[in-house]
């Protein structure tokens, strides 16, 4: 997917001013936050489970090589064909190669965020293949020609009316006005494709080292269709999805589905181990799994490697006051919200996503709800440090900070300068005690709101006066 993260500020301003986006975000926020907190009440030892979940993920990261090798051994023994891809380009080439070998024409796809990373649909279409997203949200987004705005609710920014217009136009059927009817229309339209597609592409929520399985979590049933109906199934998945045992997955699922949608469990949890067995009447004849790096080993070697614990629940974005106001598209790549502010710079380059680690108040809502205890604000702070170390901050900010540092090291100068500023501020603030326009970096603040004017005395002056009064 094209990276537009460095247009974050402009995009965020547009989203803030878009009443449709604002309405959709308000609706989603209430539902997801409330649903999660209600379902968490079912786990009387949530903190204990969460701690264990983080440890499982860390074990997977720490021993990833051994676990992946073990996974590969078991998967191969079950008949799975395992491929490895270092880059996004290699992923797309491998998938196209498999499709060509099997003379595939039509592909059905169940959700994969990794597929968004590699721009897989675009590559498949360019190779002349017919590829259809089947998750309802992804299907809607594909028909609009857009990208997802949320990792578990891709079309959350679209209204019922938008979708009704879209379906009427794309399906050539009478326009429907009811959400259930629209959902069932999509079911009717997609069903024949499930039955006659040649190839299915899915992601994986976890890889189970113990059994060589891939597993996916879905609600709609499209994941089961994609992994069962076509004659070839290809799963693409990042190396970090590795988990030791079925018991570990069982524990992670207790926090994953609750964190994601507030469900105690999602409708379909499918563990796939190899292709169709002798005698089986259904299932694909060939099952391929592509294990993908695409920036993950680099992240593993970095000081922000805890981000690889992520199990893609979306709770961090649902609870983020910044995401709640601007939605996912402004973040400019695949992953929005706090986790996106970390993964985007990690995967596409710190310099291509300058604003993202700063698009946070560090309020730690994300850190508190993360089911695998990723210290998201700490990681964002480390990325901010990297920006400074790599001299990636704007020249005006660097100059400003250097001037400030120069003055701060000279208490007398600092005292004089702040005294002048406090008095001027009071004078300019006038009767309403507000500054309507600030110079330099302050201009960005006052373009949207006023700044409270200083009251004429600096902190040091007031402090000295108070101390004098006390000692007297």
């Amino acid at each position: 997917m094209q990276v537009t993260s460095n247009q974050f500020k402009q995009a965020a301003s547009r989203k803030l001013a878009d009443p449709k986006v604002q309405k959709a975000l308000r609706n989603a926020k209430g539902k997801l936050v409330v649903a999660r907190s209600r379902s968490m009440l079912e786990l009387d030892n949530f903190e204990e489970i969460r701690e264990a979940a983080a440890r499982i993920r860390d074990f997977g990261l720490q021993h990833m090589d051994v676990l992946l090798e073990e996974w590969e051994k078991k998967a191969t023994a079950a008949g799975t064909i395992v491929h490895w891809a270092e880059t996004a380009q290699q992923v797309n080439d491998l998938v196209i190669g498999i499709a060509r070998k099997h003379e595939v024409r039509k592909i059905i796809k169940s959700k994969s965020m990794l597929g968004e990373e590699t721009n897989l649909n675009h590559a498949l279409e360019a190779a002349g293949l017919d590829v259809r997203e089947t998750d309802l949200g992804e299907y809607i987004i594909q028909q609009f020609g857009e990208t997802p705005s949320h990792i578990i609710a891709p079309a959350v920014h679209k209204s019922k009316d938008d979708i009704a217009d879209l379906f009427a136009q794309k399906h050539g059927r009478p326009r429907l006005n009811d959400i259930a009817a629209l959902t069932h229309e999509a079911r009717d339209v997609l069903r024949p494709h499930f039955l006659d597609a040649d190839m299915g592409i899915s992601g994986a929520n976890f890889l189970v080292a113990e059994t060589g399985s891939t597993m996916i979590v879905t609600n709609e049933g499209n994941g089961r269709m994609t992994t069962t109906m076509p004659r070839v199934h290809v799963a693409i998945t990042g190396i970090e999805k590795i988990v030791p045992t079925l018991e570990d997955v069982s524990l992670l699922l207790r926090v994953l589905t609750r964190s994601a949608t507030g469900q105690s469990i999602s409708n379909y949890l499918s563990f796939t181990t190899g292709p169709k067995r002798p005698g089986d009447k259904d299932g694909p004849g060939e099952f391929h799994v592509i294990i993908v790096d695409a920036g993950r080993t680099k992240l593993l070697a970095s000081e922000i490697r805890e981000a690889l614990r992520c199990i893609r629940c979306g709770a961090c974005m649902n609870h983020c006051p910044v995401y709640q106001n601007i939605g996912g598209h402004a973040y400019g790549w695949v992953y929005p919200g706090p986790i996106g502010s970390i993964l985007t710079p990690a995967y596409v380059g710190v310099e291509k996503a300058i604003d993202l680690p700063n698009a946070s108040t560090l309020c730690n809502q994300c850190g508190v709800v993360c089911p695998v205890k990723i210290p998201l604000p700490d990681l964002m702070r480390k990325l901010r440090e990297q920006q400074v170390q790599k001299n990636l901050r704007p020249w005006s900010e660097r100059l400003g900070l250097r001037l400030w540092a120069w003055a701060a090291e000279r208490p007398v100068v600092y005292g004089v300068l702040t005294r002048i500023a406090a008095r001027m501020g009071k004078w300019i603030g006038g009767r309403d005690r507000l500054l309507h326009r600030l110079p330099a970096a302050g201009a960005e603040w006052t373009s949207g709101r006023d700044f409270p004017a200083p009251r004429g005395r600096t902190f040091r002056e007031l402090y000295a006066r108070t101390r004098n009064r006390r000692t007297r």
């Binding site: 491929h83 629209l182 609600n219 499209n222 089961r224 069962t228 524990l251």
Partner: protein, 216 residues
């Protein structure tokens, strides 16, 4: 070097083990896989059968209880009649001998195809914690029967209701040699909330899941 070797090498470097993992370390890691240690569980102060029934209803599955397998066709016929649902479809071969015709149902023992309105399956076991069915794909336990029809009926013996997913795995390990092609945990009718976060049942899978518990 292959992509595989490059990736594994970079993983080892990132974890400070450029020289690779020693045999002892490797054995310790693999021992963790064989131990099947369970993590902490929430408090579960309930009995499996009532909990299972309660959670099925919460997931918007419907539930019925009959004394024996022979009573299933009549119980199912009355459910279908009450809901005004089609009476023909496919079942897993293990139920081929039931007197479906005697109850006025047209059920064939075969894998389901896209046009069936009714699919009847058993279950490897059921999980009480969340009202979940554990289904294994196989020669005689077709995966499509619980997926393609609009109405999925699952027949589960009360004795096969275990507490948690962890219990389900243990049962599978004790009775089977390895995993089948696919293990599917089914928790209620297919659903989506992708349009305006509004819940709709019957996305791509069944609109309804009806569970018949055999109390024996």
């Amino acid at each position: 070097m292959s992509a595989r070797d490059n990736i594994l090498k970079r993983i080892r470097e990132a974890n400070g083990r450029e020289s690779g993992t020693s045999a002892t370390q490797r054995d310790a890691i693999l021992a963790r896989l064989d131990a099947h240690t369970r993590g902490p569980l929430p408090t579960m102060d309930w009995e499996p059968l009532p909990r299972f029934k309660e959670r099925c209803s919460a997931l918007m599955s419907t539930i019925d209880e009959v004394g024996s397998l022979a009573q299933v066709p009549r119980a199912l016929a009355s459910y279908l009649k009450q809901k005004n649902l089609p009476t023909g479809g496919a079942c897993w071969p293990e139920f081929a001998e039931l007197d479906w015709a005697g109850a006025g149902l047209a059920i064939q023992a075969r894998p389901s195809h896209g046009d069936d309105k009714l699919g009847i399956t058993g279950a490897f076991c059921a999980l009480a914690e969340n009202g979940t069915l554990m289904l294994l794909s196989g020669e005689n336990t077709h995966a499509t029967t619980s997926l393609l029809p609009e109405n999925h009926v699952a027949i589960v013996a009360a004795s096969r209701i275990v507490r948690t997913m962890e219990d389900g795995w243990d049962l599978l390990r004790s009775e089977r040699d390895g995993l089948p092609r696919q293990v599917n945990f089914v928790s209620g009718p297919s659903r989506t909330a992708d349009i305006e976060m509004t819940l709709v049942l019957g996305a791509h899978g069944p609109f309804r899941v009806h569970v018949i518990v055999l109390s024996e």
